[in-house]
Symmetry: C2
Subunit: 496 residues, 2 copies
């Protein structure tokens, strides 16, 4: 039977997803299994597959098929699928091959220099390569801006968080900045002195074992995924085979455990994507904001909650030895402390790190901030937001790989994710009476069942805002996040 235009597109995009999935496994292998000497060949393998993918996707025939399919009678999911195909086609088509290659070369060159610059804390080393990356990225943003009908910076964000808009993020972030400024001193005052760090050391194997147990408690299906180690923890692989990683520090067993909780939140989003559609664009994860919301719901909303600490403390006793008191554990899991490093930040100050990066990267793409002036602007912004100045650029503008690797427009997703997490968790709790009580007994079913139905199984059926509105009754705002912070850090029960 001959296929119609829409069916032809389904065949093509299913193939494209298989290529993407193959790349995801090769990338996981590169970070987790590959010996160092295999790196340059691996880069070539991935570049070849990406090149084939781009060639298949950017072809003019795809555009013709999309136009034809648009005239057909399609059901809601098919229509949404066609929309995603069209968005991907625009992204692929907008940037000429010459620019794609130049970007690939510039980012891989810049990343190598960045490693050295970060190790030495010397921004000057990487200034020129970063200028090149920024200028090419700006060019790519400009090329996509018109066909997407957005600003260049929005076009860059669109790759990670489709339909993200600068003005709205600016408003949300301004609101959040004020909230942090008002709240942080109160939280710090109320929280009092730090607990002495228990000097207990926990062997990797014990940490790993408990990590796997926690994954099972949350709902991870080990028949469809793995836990491994890597220098930088991540969630990778495919919806059929999710690969998450963590790293172990014998002196900080809670760090790997909360890391595992975080990545398991990502993993369950992937594992619960709509079965009938996950071989199509509409059946994949909506965007990085919603993805981050799922990891933060599991880590921040659930696993760092007072309720879950009651379940976790005896588990730690058993697995790690020593004597873990639920209240002390809870204080440790919800400790607030302004610091220089984003990935080590608590959930309140984390947003400040993101607001800073959003403002600086947008200014660089707009041409309002020169790369040469980045270190100064960084420190100024850090002072304004958290009142601290990093001792060197290593703890400042050199700490994250994103910009040096060409991932510009990614950072806002983290905080959009944190706001979404609070809003979604509040809605889940309101709709599911036993939810918080379940956490006290390690029962994640009420929470994860609700998330599966209202978020995971939605794939890309509608925009992030559509999904949020359907799930929570409202578009994204900072209200739930603020309420969450006040309840967790300023309510009576949490007093020192």
């Amino acid at each position: 039977m001959p296929q119609n235009a829409y069916q032809k597109l389904e065949t093509l995009f299913s193939r494209l997803l298989r290529i993407e999935d193959a790349i995801a496994i090769l990338q996981w292998d590169g970070a987790v299994m590959m010996p160092e000497g295999g790196a340059s060949a691996r880069a070539e393998e991935i570049a070849t597959l990406k090149g084939l993918h781009h060639k298949l996707l950017a072809s003019p025939q795809v555009s013709a098929l999309i136009r034809k399919a648009d005239q057909l009678e399609l059901n809601g999911w098919q229509r949404a699928n066609l929309g995603e195909m069209s968005r991907q086609w625009i992204h692929a088509r907008a940037v000429p091959a010459r620019l794609i290659e130049a970007l690939a070369r510039a980012t891989s060159a810049c990343e190598i220099v960045w490693r050295e610059a970060r190790a030495k804390g010397d921004f000057k080393l990487v200034k020129k390569p970063l200028e090149k990356v920024m200028s090419l990225t700006r060019e790519a943003g400009q090329a996509k801006a018109e066909p997407l009908g957005v600003t260049p910076y929005e076009a860059l964000m669109d790759l990670y968080e489709p339909q993200a808009r600068e003005a709205r993020i600016e408003d949300l972030f301004a609101d959040l900045e004020e909230f942090i400024a008002d709240t942080l001193p109160l939280v710090l005052e109320r929280q009092g002195d730090a607990l002495p760090n228990p000097s207990v050391k926990v062997a990797q194997t014990s940490q790993k074992e408990l990590g796997r147990r926690l994954m099972g408690v949350i709902g991870f299906d080990f028949n469809k995924g793995r836990l491994d180690e890597s220098a930088h923890p991540f969630s990778g692989g495919t919806p059929y085979d999710v690969r998450i990683t963590t790293r172990y520090d014998e002196a900080e067993p809670l760090k790997s455990l909360m890391g595992v909780a975080h990545e398991t939140g990502h993993a369950l989003y992937e594992m619960n994507l709509p079965k009938d559609w996950r071989h199509q664009p509409v059946g994949r994860a909506r965007g990085m904001a919603l993805h981050e919301s799922q990891s933060l719901i599991v880590e921040m909303q659930a696993c760092r909650s007072r309720a879950f600490a009651k379940f976790l403390a005896p588990l730690l006793d058993e697995a790690f030895g020593g004597s873990w008191d639920a209240k002390a554990l809870r204080r440790k899991l919800a400790w607030v402390k302004p610091g220089f490093i984003r990935v080590d930040a608590d959930e309140l100050t984390y947003s400040a790190h993101v607001i800073l990066r959003f403002r600086l990267e947008r200014a660089m793409i707009r041409g309002d901030l020169k790369v040469a002036d980045l270190p100064g602007a960084w420190n100024q912004c850090m002072t304004r937001l958290l009142g601290i100045v990093p001792p060197s650029d290593r703890e400042g503008c050199l700490q994250d790989i994103h910009w040096y690797d060409g991932a510009i427009g990614y950072f806002p997703s983290y905080t959009l994710g944190a706001l979404s997490a609070a809003q979604i968790f509040a809605a889940a709790e309101a709709a599911t009476p036993g939810l918080r009580h379940g956490l006290e007994h390690g029962d994640f079913q009420p929470l994860m069942g609700w998330l599966k139905e209202n978020i995971h199984s939605q794939g890309c059926f509608g925009s992030t805002d559509d999904i949020l509105k359907r799930a929570t009754g409202a578009p994204l705002s900072a209200a739930a996040f603020k309420a969450h912070v006040k309840r967790r850090y300023l309510s009576g029960a949490n007093a020192k």
Copy 2:
């Protein structure tokens, strides 16, 4: 600068090799890392990449470029490279897409049924699926026979061992059959009763540690490869990143150790392929016969030798505990015993297993043997060659995956490899005075250096026979293998 036809082909084939390398890593992952639930998605990913590969290779433009390039002035390696390209193109082009898909479906269906049939020892279950595979494979062989200018069975062998010829293999194998018939009784008589099996159990971690140490001794570069575990040991990955596997049996520590030696032989062939050419067809391994010869040189010729047993015995003492006597170890490493299972066979009776498979698969492809008559023919052949009859088809015609998976024409490579191993090792020893003495002290450098120069670095520069002639001064014969068997199993020093 515009590329000429040959340069265009280099660009294309370098891309094709990157796709093949990506597939190799995905296959390794599937056998070593992947959770079971990921299997069907992985099959789709690999099928998609193979489909893209085939489409790129089988295009008529490639044929036009090959014809044009043939007119250009090329140096020896370029000319050999063009020959390999042409051979690959013929293989890809000869078989219509319809037949490739039918074969893919038939083999994956047959393989699944085979697992059940083997578990139950019931050949009838898999008769029909195997008939389908055989009939489609015959069709593929017929389609390739004419463009390659060979018989259908030779066309099938060509995929694994290019330019292998039936008549020559028949002669070699007839000679070998007679040799086994004459020699086996003498060896068994001379060898006497089996040693009592030491009841020592060796933990996996100790076996693994010694395995890695042995790999290092042989010359494996851990910056460019890994050792892991899998149900069926294999050597995979790419020349840039070689992945070998083994399996551990606590009661049989020598088995995993000799398995590791075997796969390390394969690995070093890959690691030592010509640096400047390994991104091109001419720079890859010549064929399965030469590949097997490299594993057998390391395992059979070197690691099971009297010389190496002197080095190994104290190592075993240290790593496994107990008391390992060099002479007893040597007897154990070179123990001959006719059995039903090919993969457990010693080097003398191994060839009988291969001769049997060669004759039966060729007869099936020629139409001289019906699939329904396979079990009977198997048992008859086994009686004639080794004088034993398997108790059930599980230990008979169901034991190997090859036929059920569509790999017909592969088996002869094993014995061609064993004959080549003896011939190459003899030449290496003749040319390198300290070689055997080196093995007594765990010094593989003389052997591996000679192999690198004379075999590994030759890639596909010339046919298997060309490489053999350059390295040993003669085309392949069974003479060196026979001399090796007589020296090892019938000379005075090896008496019980």
